[in-house]
Symmetry: C2
Subunit: 354 residues, 2 copies
Amino acid sequence: MSLRDEILEQPEAVRRQLGSESGAATLQALAARLRAEPVDSVVIAARGSSDHAAIYGQYLFGVRQALTVGLAAPSIVSLYGTSPSVGRSLVIGISQSGASPDVVAVVAAANRQGAPTLAITNDPGSPLAEAAEYVLDLAAGPERSIAATKTYTCSLLALARLSAALGPAAALDPAPEDPAGGAIAALPDALEAALAVEPEVEELARDLAATDRCLVLGRGFEYATAREWALKLKELAQVFADPYSSADFLHGPIALARPGVPALAVVPESPTRAGLVQTLTTLRDLGVETVILSELPDVRALGWRSIALPAGVPEWLRPISSIVPAQLLAYHLTIAKGLDPEAPLNLSKVTRTV
Amino acid sequence: MSLRDEILEQPEAVRRQLGSESGAATLQALAARLRAEPVDSVVIAARGSSDHAAIYGQYLFGVRQALTVGLAAPSIVSLYGTSPSVGRSLVIGISQSGASPDVVAVVAAANRQGAPTLAITNDPGSPLAEAAEYVLDLAAGPERSIAATKTYTCSLLALARLSAALGPAAALDPAPEDPAGGAIAALPDALEAALAVEPEVEELARDLAATDRCLVLGRGFEYATAREWALKLKELAQVFADPYSSADFLHGPIALARPGVPALAVVPESPTRAGLVQTLTTLRDLGVETVILSELPDVRALGWRSIALPAGVPEWLRPISSIVPAQLLAYHLTIAKGLDPEAPLNLSKVTRTV
């Protein structure tokens, strides 16, 4: 299977995970445990693309469950030998291979403290799965390309399903967009719709073929998409892609904005929309070529170029579909630059960092 | 005062904060409160350079106090209208101006939940100071240049002093590098020593004048330095500087490594040293020009070029001194490129993001 095959397989990979009985049972068991013994916070340990899934988790559990979510600095455990107290936290490790020793170390240390631990991995026999009390199989099927695509969307899906199983925080009224079951079940169709823009994306990629630097903007739930999009552009198309929350962007990196350095942005319907539109208007006035990913025609009209996202996906699930056209753009830009998407420079599939 | 004046003033700014009686009293009061009502975790809200101080805080309170530290996503409060539960956390807002509404919103929401809150700001009359129960004045003096320098080092210092006041976690034995008072008192001298490399840095900047893209590596405590160094290179010298923990770097961005794209790295004595040396050796074998910031002559010898850090600063305080030669390099690279360090493109001093 090629990288493109794996991108196109994502609706099927999502269906596979949703159909897994053992996954549903694990989520129910963990949710019951957390109702009986509530936690104050969530700590997530991950690297690379999985760390971008963790960023999604920060907004997901923050907005829907009103939990404080911390992204672990794994080296505090693995190199400095300290085990920060996580007694009242749910600790999640995310790794497609389940093999990175630093992520395993965070989960193992939490387990020793008696905290509930969850491994989200594509290999239920991996060291990460061994170290955790609960294991959720990504069920993405083997991912052979070095650049992660379907394991990323399946990691987001696993987190979204956990959030749905936990239910909204008692303090949140009205409950945001529940019941969640229907929206999650509709995701494979949304991913099919997201893939349908491939011809326009391929044409856009040819127009961007000379790009060696770009900015990538997103905020809130879609900050994860901006980070993951930038990583695909780096590892596949060798573009210096600098990802920013539009808030942080105004605190310095906007100095890099200029014609010839395109700004890619994910701007769906969201409380973050007004600020992003303002930033994009500023960038347009500076002569920057803007490429806007949105389901909203009036927002897309602001861009130098734009890509349509599928409509009807609630904000908390949208990152699962909005990364798909972004992956396609990174893939076709790689081809347009004459590079090999199956052989990113200097990389191997399983990276074991301590 | 020019940017260079503010960089050179840092030993004096640090002395000023250390000499403040009100600051010492605040730290003692907050430490007493936290001994009486212990917290499980620390949540820090910040943007821009202050967010890099927050990253330092993550390692500082993680390694020295064994506390889980989460970096807040301010928009969860300011845009999505949720107040994640922080009942058992110390919540810190860091902002030189104290004027960014999103950071203020996180601290105000925590205050309403009864959590202890601390503002670290250069303006004790700011909205952030108003919102917090405890206020620590950076005492950096007015910072007129748009690029933050002395307020960054003073923010790190404020966090380090809080860590020293809290004392090591009972579980940590032996206590790392305590008593801390002497090491903190020696910081102004270390900053003087760090400034002494300016002539070599100026020469190096001329050699790097054609650079428009670079990689910046650090790990552990010095990951904050890598992030802040990259931001100075972006906002002042208009270099696409991509900062990475050396662990995350191997999970994708190493695809960008090539001759003509220098890799800058902070590699002091630390448990992170072996991994960084391995990564730098890989980069050297790929023909990448490496610039190494270290107090260790044998590590510096690995680099294409190197800059000496002052010796004798313990690891948990070292980021306060190691950013100084990094600031000087960003400043002199700006001059070498014929740009104006007092007028970074598209930026203003106080950025109010919601």
